[in-house]
Symmetry: C2
Subunit: 450 residues, 2 copies
């Protein structure tokens, strides 16, 4: 390459599975990569529920992105919230602490992911946090362990029972894993921790509007998971539609069509996701309409129509009904990187993207998981061992694998959970909300009475 020739500039938006694997796939390419992300870490989202339930520390599942990529000299990692993409000018605008940056690109890979969706009821968000970020996980952790603390000192039996009731909305993998882990924490970890309450009496409800737990895993695994959850004492309620979420409980319409109220101070929302608002922003510029979940209907090479230089991968994209899982993001990212390097080499473009389903798995309780791999279905201890192996392999960093394994031994064998810290941010800023109404974050309420 002559010195005058400019190196091809690739901008990657996002540091999740899509963003990170796109950068890694460009390792040997003669390109300049700039990654722009709102967070400084790469989040291993499949284990987020373990941070939310006190098993793992945030560092174990969220290594610094720039540390992960430090040896890859053609990547520059930058902090920024992308506020706009100009498809004509080929620039990305991002903000960090009020300072604005414009980054030009020759190729763009957008992998900004998805966030929790409340289906038009965004006002439920502070009352029933989702589980998509480290902040969510720390918040949920503080609410769960904080609820038992409040129950211990509460003298009104009705309020105490509200503190000891946990509602998880959504019976996909995250909801199942959360319900299972709250139950394990209540029955095992917290045993002997309290003097006024018996944490094992906590009620854990898992609600879903659909008629099956883990519907995408098929009837047999769905039934197995339901049985294990019920054995753990989780009340599984299917065909139940949530119609209201407030400080002290949720309103539902049950499968029988009857309206009911469940008193519960702790609610966790695992019912839906919505693609990053960048999806709509990009779609509007090319005359596309996003789907109900805000995802971009990409071409079969994952690009925007008329913009072969712009790829949308992962949770932000929709194509042929492929599922919004990490494998879809990783494979899409590798495909985009491959397409860019193929073009630079002047070779014919690769065939259309196609998703290879490597299977899916979810833990239900310790030593018990379900896994669906090709035509094979596994349930119980064997599936749990598969789950353990796969997650250890995909975790980033040798040290994180070791300490995660130690933490798993501590929790699964010893029933302990060593990451139970409730920080003041969480206690004062948000748990207080569930008792006393909305107050600005971090500002204690002025009226101590409810």
């Amino acid at each position: 390459m002559s010195e005058n020739e400019k190196t091809h500039r690739v901008v990657i938006v996002g540091s999740g599975f899509g963003g990170l694997f796109a950068a890694k796939a460009l390792k040997s390419a003669d390109v300049d990569v700039t990654m722009i992300s709102r967070t400084t870490h790469h989040l291993f989202q499949p284990l987020l529920y373990q941070v939310a339930t006190g098993i793992l520390s945030e560092g174990e599942i969220a290594p610094s992105t720039r540390e992960v990529l430090k040896r890859q000299k053609n990547v520059r990692v930058t902090l920024g919230d992308v506020t706009g993409v100009d498809l004509e000018a080929r620039t990305v605008t991002s903000q960090a602490l009020g300072s604005s940056t414009v980054t030009p690109y020759d190729s763009l890979i957008v992998a900004a992911g998805a966030q929790t969706s409340y289906f038009g009821h965004e006002e439920w968000a502070p009352r029933a946090p989702g589980l998509k970020s480290i902040d969510d996980a720390l918040e949920v952790r503080a609410r769960i362990f904080g609820a038992f603390e409040m129950a211990e000192i509460e003298t009104d039996p009705e309020i105490r029972s509200e503190w000891l009731t946990f509602v998880v909305v959504g019976a996909g993998p995250t909801g199942v894993e959360m319900a299972g882990q709250i139950a394990e924490a209540a029955r095992n970890t917290l045993r002997d921790n309290f003097r006024s309450i018996d944490p094992a009496e906590a009620r854990i409800l898992l609600l879903d509007a659909a008629d099956a737990v883990l519907g995408s895993f098929g009837d047999r695994l769905s039934a197995k998971a339901t049985t294990v959850l019920r054995k753990l004492g989780v009340e599984v309620e299917l065909g139940a539609k949530v119609t209201g979420v407030d400080l002290t409980g949720v309103d539902i319409v049950g499968a029988d069509g009857e309206s009911r109220r469940i008193g519960a101070r702790t609610k966790i929302w695992a019912a839906g996701v919505r693609a990053s608002r960048l999806g709509r922003h990009l779609s509007e510029q090319v005359g596309l309409e996003v789907d109900r979940a805000g995802r971009v209907p990409v071409q079969d090479d994952l690009t925007l129509p008329g913009h072969p230089e712009v790829f949308v991968v992962g949770d932000m994209a929709t194509l042929k009904g492929y599922p919004g899982v990490s494998q879809f993001a990783m494979q899409g990212a590798r495909y985009a990187a491959k397409t860019i390097t193929t073009r630079l080499a002047g070779k014919p473009a690769p065939a259309a993207f196609s998703y290879w389903d490597k299977g899916s798995m979810a833990t239900v309780s310790r030593f018990n998981a379900v896994a669906s791999i090709g035509n094979r279905r596994f349930a119980g201890f064997i599936a749990w061992l598969l789950w353990l192996g796969v997650h250890l392999v995909y975790l980033i960093g040798f040290k994180n694998r070791i300490t995660t394994l130690i933490n798993w031994a501590v929790t699964f064998v010893g029933n302990d959970r060593s990451e139970r810290v409730i920080s003041h941010h969480q206690v004062v800023g948000r748990v207080v909300v569930s008792r006393q109404g909305m107050t600005p974050l971090g500002m204690p309420p002025t009226d101590p009475d409810e």
Copy 2:
């Protein structure tokens, strides 16, 4: 004991070294213990700087207090911020999320500790956080690693240099440890992490109004520590008085009497502590005056005059010039517990409390510490091994010792730091403050320009 005879009620305020060791010392006593604490964890404060600099997770140094005490059936642990003690009625009033609890006692052990003191300049607190709680540590961690992130994207060389300048005020053990660790992080951990800046060029300043680093360790160790810090590239400035702290720097009057300004976006305050406000509250009721640091001048049996049933231990108490270290809190707590059980047994009271100085130590850099034990002084690698052993022994929990050892190996041998997560709470809620002025926690500033 007849069934009519009431069990002696001991209330302990605080779950730090004083509170926890008081509870443990009452293990075999025929008493009912209630521990009231603002936090749900026991904080191992000597390693807080390692959470603040990305080495350890918060769970490793802050285990759940009720988990630590779960097998001790005569202790009930409760969450609450103590708002008042009625010495006549013998009751303690505490608040949690607005719910108020009144707890009666027969004996009271107050060990509510101390917080950061700004010597009358409390307005400096949001600009230069101290290091007394898990929240402080997470906040400082976000500011340190966030400063390098901002420097990487900043194009104005003056602002970039402010982001790359770190001022630590106070050259006691915490200040020395923080300055040393920021230097190690900049020179080693962050190497190869950035493309636009060289983190090794970061300036780290350690300021103190006194004329020595680690003054309490004596001249020889003080000189050794200063030499090691300077080798690490820490600019040690003694006899320097801080006269102002704002968003972009600090104003000082140097040893030469000249006023100067140091541009620095990241400031850490390790210059002073002030006893919990409960100290003044208790003192006023018995006609005592607290000292300049808000500490209660206790009797030589650690009680309040006229109230032999009320003990004040640890950082809240002052007696015969004993230092405010964890050993003073632990020994005071054991003494108070012993006095209570001796009295219950109807035996003569123990002799006046006297503090046994087991020595003190501080790490300066990896493999390098100073230790003062009896008449002996150690510096360098031997002192560092002593430090390592003592801290591992005092850490609570077998699992925490193992994972801490692994994290130390990763950091001290491999230069990595695996706990570098910056949560949104920190980024939006507070780092933003240092650039854009005070905004309510969690509320992004409305004006994106400075």
